[in-house]
């Protein structure tokens, strides 16, 4: 035997001689418009080729399929394979680590998460959110939950470097009302909320929203309830082999936003950045490396 797994296309060529006239009519149409012309129901497909359904059914059996549904599935599989095909890189990352080593399992999970997260970002929405974050007319507030507090902190540190009027709302929710008091329309609130979603964050979001503050929400794949009042919501995939959730993709999204914000307003930013550098140098707390 020569060909264990044949494509439908090959099957048709092989059996073309044994096909009748109207069967060929369909076969030709399929080959010309492959595989789209074979993906609908047998009725429709037959209609398009202007033959009857029994004709198609018979032909499909000649090709070796037990029924039209199986033929249909075969076409689908081919199509799928084409799409996911060469992209399916499973490079073994942590090179020398043993197969089942946590490092490798972890690498796999993280890669998947990043990929998922990336493919679920709507770039238009991303751009819009960045535009909002770059708007220095209003003040930018940053806040996170129990775990994401660290991310909020990270965001604050960077945003503070590239724009003015940034406030980090501390994790102690007792102080939040003071901040809310000062919020006005045109301000922006960057929130982090991953499961287990925190009710006081939600209340904060509602209050801010009522005051006309635009909320940019970074949450997990299951979406915090805050999404309902947020202007822009982004979902990050967070599952890893552990009892808690990963924030790598969250961090990635955040960094992407910071980078984009900086790019959007680089003319203004650059100067600010340079001056900041000088200041840090002057304090002699930091040593330049290269």
């Amino acid at each position: 035997m020569s060909k264990p797994p044949a494509t439908v296309r090959e099957l048709i060529r092989e059996n073309y001689a044994s096909l009748t006239q109207s069967e060929r009519k369909f076969a030709n149409l399929l080959l010309e418009n492959y595989p789209a012309a074979g993906l609908a129901s047998i009725t429709i497909v037959a209609g398009n080729a202007e033959v009857s359904t029994p004709t198609v059914a018979r032909m499909v059996q000649k090709l070796g399929f037990k029924g039209y549904p199986l033929f249909h599935q075969a076409l689908l599989k081919e199509l799928e394979a084409k799409v996911s095909g060469p992209t399916k890189r499973r490079d073994n990352w942590a090179s020398e680590a043993p197969e089942g080593h946590l490092l490798n399992r972890f690498a796999q999970a993280v890669t998947d998460n990043l990929q998922q997260t990336f493919s679920n970002i709507d770039s238009a929405q991303f751009d819009a959110a960045v535009h909002q974050l770059a708007n220095t007319e209003g003040r930018l507030y940053v806040v996170g939950g129990r775990i994401t507090r660290a991310l909020a902190d990270y965001a604050f540190t960077h945003f503070q470097a590239i724009r003015q009027r940034v406030t980090h709302m501390t994790s102690s929710s007792a102080t939040w009302p003071h901040y809310v008091l000062d919020m006005v329309e045109g301000d922006t609130l960057l929130m982090f909320d991953v499961r287990r979603y925190e009710t006081n964050l939600q209340r904060l979001a509602e209050l801010a929203s009522e005051r006309g503050v635009k909320i940019v929400l970074i949450t997990d794949q299951w979406a915090s309830p805050i999404a309902s009042v947020a202007e822009h919501t982004f979902n990050c995939w967070v599952e890893i082999p552990s009892a808690w959730d990963s924030n790598i993709s969250t961090m990635m999204l955040l960094e992407a936003m910071i980078a984009a914000t900086q790019e959007e307003s680089w003319d203004k930013t650059k100067d600010r950045y340079d001056r900041l550098d000088e200041l840090f140098d002057m304090t002699r707390l930091f040593r330049k490396f290269s």
Copy 2:
């Protein structure tokens, strides 16, 4: 409104908030395995997601399709378009974002960084460092620099959950002498230091080292000078298209360490974790999701 022709993926994202729990179960499966998970019959598709057919039918209608068959066709069209489309797009990632969009450049850089970082981890050293971090005989101190403070904070939050005797040394270096005073042999110091390396972090490392404290250092690819006194050093690749350095791979390494630490002492950890959960529940500040 803004988007006349949406992909199914976008539709799901837009309507995610209005989906019920089991509808989301299916939605998630579809997003994770897109679009293959939506190409079979409603019965099969529902079975795979372990929900009932009505659930899928309802969801599909929420997305705006008049019936499952239409939804099915929409997915097919997308798949076809992808295959025949403009010269097979670059590695799926930020799927619909334009070629030169920052998101795509960013994704590329991050992937490279992670790959580099991973392949440069010596798994034996990793295991050794983890063992050190899991050692509850001594105290675990965590400290970071100007930017990495957030990472140190993140590390602290997690380590605190899985072991006792953890201290976060605040970023104000004025307070560090007090901590050093209490350090004894057998203690561990987890440090983050990326460029531009900070001299007071280095001095801290030296002092701690003299007192017999084992230092686990997480630094960048150029290595902080602290490496010379550290017991275990790990390098993370940090370059991205921006004026500053990325900490995604740093975060990744950190999370891997936390996960490994937890795994190493899961019997002790588990109980602590559960009790912590209960406590958070009791404060009523958090709401459980599923």
